[in-house]
């Protein structure tokens, strides 16, 4: 998504203009978070599951080289063609060349955050290939010409009336119709026609099993299956970190994924693709796009454990009140804010600062990623590398100078109190970011240091 040079704070300002919508967005996501809590609390072994999932992922990251080779060998034995892409561009080229070879120029695609990350739709569109997103939420944002604002609930920022308007314009539903049941039925008819007529389908991958060479795709709608089982060509796109060593490990991940995401005990469909059906060709594209670099950053490596449940977004007080689009990256929220700077530190330097560091994200993460600690660490890296907002960097330098020098600290304190008392207009204005949404404090008569000195003398 192109947002020009706008950062998270500026983009949040746009979202925050409509206060009623912010409240509604906040409450809707908190409702999802509450469902997650109920599901997690219903399992006495929840913490053991998180710990096990985390340890399996630790093992994966420490053996990724061998697991990828094992997966490749087994997948090929199963009749699946395996491709490797160093970056998003190569991924897009591979997908395009497969489609070209198959003579296909209209395809269906189920949800894949990786293809969002690589901007596949744009690329294929430029090469005259029509892509229909088949997940209902993704189809809605596609019709609105927007990116998804949430990785599990792509159009969570949209009201049903807005969706009704979109459907009226694009699918011909009656004007003003906004009932979710009615709109979903209209989308079902609209997309059935696409499933029936398209010859190639792209899906994402939730888990890929090294031991067997199979991959698992989870959906509630059944759109990945409808696409894949009707198409002559199935292309599955995955980040290299999606590997799981053994088939039985799926039990752990399928138990935590949907409970963390929406509070459901499991998705409606957890489909295991091992071999193409007779007459079908099946491809897997393994994509790096910065993951191997992140693997080498000790402090940030375990962000690669992420299973894309979005629990960290639903719980995040900043995400809930700023909306997914304010993160200007395919994966929003706390996890996105530790993944994006790895890809482009300059462009995403604002994201690790879009957090209160409250730690709620780390508490709900089903694979125990220390998300808030990584946000804090990214801030230090970004400032050190010189990518911080210049105003912020200057303020921090001034702070550093003042706090490390006692006499300057005393003078600064005095000056601050004087200003608040005698010239409040110099800080109570729009130029002071701290004044936004809050009143400046009343000026105390003296500092603690002065008070202590005085009272100590009196004793």
């Amino acid at each position: 998504m192109s947002t020009g040079a706008k950062d998270h704070a500026q983009l949040s300002d746009i979202f925050n203009k409509d206060e009623a919508r912010v409240d509604w967005h906040d409450e809707t996501l908190w409702f999802v978070r509450a469902k997650r809590d109920k599901a997690a609390n219903s399992l006495p072994e929840w913490e053991a599951l998180r710990e096990t999932a985390s340890q399996i992922k630790d093992n994966v990251l420490s053996n990724l080289h061998d697991y990828l080779l094992q997966f490749e060998a087994n997948a090929e034995k199963n009749g699946i063609k395996v491709h490797w892409a160093a970056n998003g561009e190569e991924h897009n080229k591979i997908v395009h060349s497969i489609l070209k070879e198959s003579g296909v120029n209209r395809i269906v695609k189920s949800k894949s955050m990786l293809t969002e990350e690589c901007h596949l739709n744009d690329y294929l569109h430029k090469n005259d290939i029509e892509v229909i997103d088949t997940d209902l939420g993704e189809r809605i944002v596609q019709l609105a010409e927007e990116p998804p604002s949430h990785i599990v609930l792509p159009c969570i920022h949209k009201k049903k009336e807005e969706i009704g308007d979109l459907f009226h314009k694009h699918l011909g539903t009656p004007e003003g119709a906004s009932d979710p049941v009615f709109l979903t039925a209209a989308a079902r008819d609209h997309l059935r026609e696409k499933f029936i007529t398209r010859k190639a389908a792209i899906t994402g991958v939730n888990f890929a099993i090294a031991e067997t060479g199979e991959f698992v795709v989870c959906t509630n709608e059944g759109n990945a299956d409808m696409g894949a089982h009707l198409a002559d060509v199935h292309i599955a796109c995955m980040g290299i970190e999606k590997i799981v060593p053994l088939r039985k490990h799926l039990s752990v991940f399928l138990r935590i994924l949907t409970r963390s995401a929406t509070g459901q005990p499991i998705t409606t469909y957890s489909s295991h693709f091992k071999k193409p059906r007779p007459g079908q060709t099946m491809h897997i594209v393994l994509v790096d796009n910065g993951r191997t670099t992140q693997l080498g950053r000790e402090d940030f490596r375990n962000s690669l454990k992420c299973i894309r449940c979005a629990a960290c977004m639903n719980t995040c007080p900043v995400y809930r009140r700023s909306g997914g689009h304010s993160y200007h990256t395919a994966i929003a929220g706390p996890i996105g804010s530790i993944l994006a700077p790895n890809l482009d530190m300059k462009n995403y330097a604002d994201l690790p600062f879009a957090s209160t560091l409250c730690g709620s994200c780390s508490n709900v993460c089903p694979v125990k990623i220390n998300i808030h600690e990584q946000l804090y660490k990214w801030r230090q890296v970004i400032v050190k590398e010189g990518y911080a907002d210049p105003k912020k960097a200057m303020a921090m330098k001034a702070m550093d100078f003042t706090l490390s020098n006692p006499s300057i600290y005393k003078i600064a304190g005095k000056a601050g109190r004087w200003v608040l008392k005698h010239a409040p207009f110099t800080v109570n204005n729009k130029l002071n970011l701290w004044y936004k949404h809050r009143e400046m404090p009343e000026s105390p008569k003296q500092s603690f240091g002065e008070w202590y000195k005085q009272n100590n003398k009196n004793d």
């Binding site: 409702f31 093992n59 088939r247 039985k248 957890s270």
Partner: protein, 194 residues
């Protein structure tokens, strides 16, 4: 260097020292008995349960409840009398107008009401997804407690495609309002046999 070699070489340099795999988790004995839990969870996720003692009862139920439906198919020879014959080896697109498909599951899972179905039980992979309504027959004796039991049951079984199916297809993408029948079946009936 190809991208494959490049990626693998970079991983080799950057991956940390080996971390061991954790011990297997096993099912923690819960409060609820498996069959009861399966039934409770299935209705919570929008499925319907019909307890039967034999296939005649299933056939009767289908004739009664789905008599208005035009196209009924099944992979079960026991239900041949109430379903279409010779449907199996057609183009998958031709099942688009199937009103009801009745298939068998290997087993069900109590904690999430998911049913494990592999390709051999579907005839055609698309069948349980493209039909307007789905019915699945599972033996009462084949309900396991959790996903850990499920995967030990699957073991190293060979299949081209398999899926855990839990309830009718659904979406809540519009304002978190739950709607049954997204792209797949609008309803799911489970015949609990035995």
């Amino acid at each position: 260097m190809t991208s494959r070699e490049e990626i693998l070489a970079k991983i080799k340099i950057n991956q940390p020292g080996t971390r061991p795999l954790p011990a297997d988790l096993t099912t923690v004995p819960g409060g609820m008995e498996s069959i009861t839990q399966f039934k409770t969870v299935l209705s919570a996720i929008g499925g319907a349960i019909v307890e039967v003692s034999n296939f005649e009862e299933i056939a009767q139920y289908i004739q009664q409840e789905f008599k208005a439906k035009k196209r009924l198919i099944s992979t079960l020879p026991e239900l041949a009398s109430v379903t279409e014959s010779g449907w199996e080896n057609k183009d998958p697109h031709s099942y688009e107008d199937v009103d009801l498909a009745i298939i068998k599951a290997h087993f069900g899972v109590a904690e999430n009401a998911a049913l494990w179905v592999t390709e051999d039980l579907m005839q055609q992979r698309v069948v349980p997804f493209i039909c307007q309504q789905l019915a699945v027959v599972v033996n009462k004796a084949d309900i396991v407690a959790t996903m850990h039991d499920a995967y030990s049951k699957i073991g190293d079984a060979e299949y081209g495609f398999g899926s855990f199916i839990a309830g009718p297809s659904k979406t809540a993408d519009i304002e978190q309002s739950l709607v049954l029948g997204a792209h797949g079946p609008k309803s799911m009936t489970v015949f609990l046999l035995g």
